[in-house]
């Protein structure tokens, strides 16, 4: 009887990488990858998917070849390795019904308030000027004109798509907007350690590359009413003023009204 000598390891390698590549393509095509990584990284998923597919195909070719050959290379039984088993761990995790990270999941109080500080002059945006190309490039939030800005009535209306750009503007040139009435939507973040009772941060979640670097970004609000519940979404209206933070100045909002709002599920992606 001819000695059956095909290499199961090679076959398993092929199968594992094949399943992986399919999963990666699926993540990309369905947009599910946004649960884990930022859109700018999504192209790399495709690259990995193609590489895995290539490997899978050639490993399979290898396997077929090993089936045809009746002799092995050495009399010693080939050491079977099971390294492919380790790849099944992330595979299984990917198949699990995970749900997007919400604010409640963040145990941290990273404060992204400094995101607009210390800007170089060529990135500063002042009153009446457009968002600089750099900042526009920085976020997926493109705009031709400054949306929501009403110089006459001294009001600013921030909508979902220009939260980030407005934050950058407010922090970079706070004097220009001092006294303006602003309306914006975000979730409440009011850690006892960092905020006094009459303060909270109104924020949105920002992701740079992947879920592990997610940070809340927002603006401090002064509010003398009932303390608001952490992680709940509100649309607030108030007057912008220049407040203190650890010896430095930053824009803050003196709240006039608070209205519960629908949660915004999208993250903000930088660059």
């Amino acid at each position: 009887m001819k000695h059956k000598n095909f290499d199961i390891t090679v076959l398993m390698n092929s199968i594992t990488f094949f399943i992986f590549s399919i999963l990666l393509f699926k993540l990309y095509l369905t947009g599910e990858y946004t649960k884990f990584i930022a859109p700018k990284m999504s192209v790399y998923l495709i690259i990995a998917g193609y590489i895995f597919l290539l490997w899978s195909i050639y490993a399979f070719k290898d396997f077929l070849r090993s089936m045809k050959k009746s002799e092995a290379c050495s009399p010693i039984p080939k050491k079977r390795n099971f390294r492919w088993v380790f790849m099944t761990i992330p595979l299984v995790l990917l198949l699990m019904p995970t749900t997007s990270l919400g604010i409640e999941d963040l145990s941290s109080d990273y404060l992204g308030r400094n995101i607009a500080n210390q800007a170089d002059s060529n990135v500063t945006i002042g009153l009446g000027s457009q968002v600089s190309p750099e900042v526009e490039e920085m976020t997926k939030q493109k705009q031709i004109e400054i949306i929501g800005f009403d110089r006459l009535n001294k009001t600013i209306t921030v909508d979902t798509n220009n939260f980030y750009t407005w934050m950058v503007r407010l922090f970079q040139s706070m004097e220009d907007y001092d006294g303006y009435t602003i309306t914006l939507t975000g979730f409440v973040f009011n850690d006892d350690a960092s905020f006094k009772d009459n303060e909270f941060l109104l924020a949105r979640l920002v992701m740079s590359c992947c879920v592990s670097d997610m940070t809340p970004l927002g603006i401090v609000c002064r509010y003398d009413g009932e303390p608001l519940e952490k992680t709940k979404w509100y649309t607030v209206t108030g007057k912008i003023f220049i407040g203190d933070y650890k010896g430095g100045k930053e824009p803050q909002i003196l709240i006039e009204s608070v209205v519960p709002a629908e949660p915004i599920s999208e993250y903000i992606y930088t660059n």
């Binding site: 884990f36 790399y44 490997w55 490993a59 009746s70 290379c73 050495s74 995790l93 990270l101 990273y110």
Partner: protein, 509 residues
Amino acid sequence: MKIKAYLLLGPIGSGKSALINQLNDSESFRSLNALCLQFEMGNTSVQLPHILFSKKQVDHHLESVVHAVAEKLTSTEVDVVYIEWNMNTSLIKLQEILQHPMLSDKVEVHKAIFLSSTQTELNAHITEHILNANYFYSFEDTTSVSKSRLGDFRSTLKTINPDIKLIHHTDVDAFSSMLVQDKKLSGELWIGGLLALVTLLFFTSEWITTFANKHILFFLGVFLQAIPFLAIGVMLSSAIQIFITHEWIESKFPKSVIKGTFIAIIGGFLLPVCDCASIPVFRSLVRKGVPLPAAITFLLASPVINPVVILSTYYAFNGKWSIVFTRVILGILVAVLTSFAYVLYPPKQDLLLKKVSLNASCDCCNLDVSESSKWEKWLMHAMHEFLDVGRYLIFGIAVTTLVSMTLPSLQGGNSVGFLESFNIFGGMALAFLLSLCSSSDAMVAQSFLNKVSMSAIYAFLVFGPMIDLKNILLLKSGFSLKFILRLTFTVMTFVFILLWVLPFVQEAI
């Protein structure tokens, strides 16, 4: 049930026959009917039934060898076979004998033992035999051999065949029971356990996600970000392995340390990948003979100075070029200083690389080479390297996830406190534990702005891409612990010194 055969390899006088006699008398084999197939006439005679074959017979009358063995196996009761093989004959011949239809379902090699002494020169010819051996055995009295010679010999053995077990000539009974043991079981148990765990995870997914959702997301976020770069990295490193020869590096790579370092820095700028990719490339470069200092410069500099990192730092700190610039300069300085340390105090060559040999399916016999093109070899080598390194990556990310998620003290406000108290060391420690990809650590770092000193932030930004939990584990797949530790401490020292000096330099400017 096939009869188990034990193969003994090694030069004349290494003691093959003597070991066969001892094994035959040992506890595990005493009661078995043994047959010895001698393909070499040694000095000691074997004290059990045997057949002696001459080299001429093996070379020209293989069929007669097969017949003789088959006849003996059918006419007498044989429980175990010892094969004493001639070092000058290729193992392919043995394969032909054992794979012959008359014998293929009767006998099977279970384990192979290589015997020799430190006097034996481990040249290319012997390598084939060492590669196929499971154990190394020696009758030599090691007390009379110098420690360094012994060490060199052993590490060369391990370099050729990392899986070979070195047996110290003590208890033959213990050794024989080792031989009899079905090796597969212990390894396969672990793997079986892992597979069972994975299957369990699959079927309890609903329940698991209720409490581990955050952890899984975190793990997968880092994982999905890292694997494309790892895949690219191994493709690059395999390309170096397959397409670039030792000789080319020897002739083309600059001899002077300065020029070599410079080339390495340029290389670092050009490789737009995560730190996960630079490690396989580093491994390949060293294997191909790139001088260690230059390779180290590349390893340390590329995660910090590549275009992706420069851009992400720029955007995270909102266009502040001075921060980007400082990060790059510091990164280059640390890399160069570290590599100079290696120039001044070069490591003992043998301790550097734990594994040099490619895995078995790559350097299989010559039969394979003609069939697959160089491109195929490149792809398959890359795949194997990925699998090799990938398990360390998975483990590393798992550890990072646990550390980041379950230790609240590492998140947010307490991070700040931690950094404030421990400053530069805090920055390094935090970067080490968080093990962020070097393209996203800038974002995390900027959240510490104005709360901690810039030195701590720079420590975080410069040390992190170079050395962190993930990197250490990736390095472990190709380098000895000693090397990794020395590298870590050297980098730590230079980062600390440079950052301590930085405020003074900045004032002077």
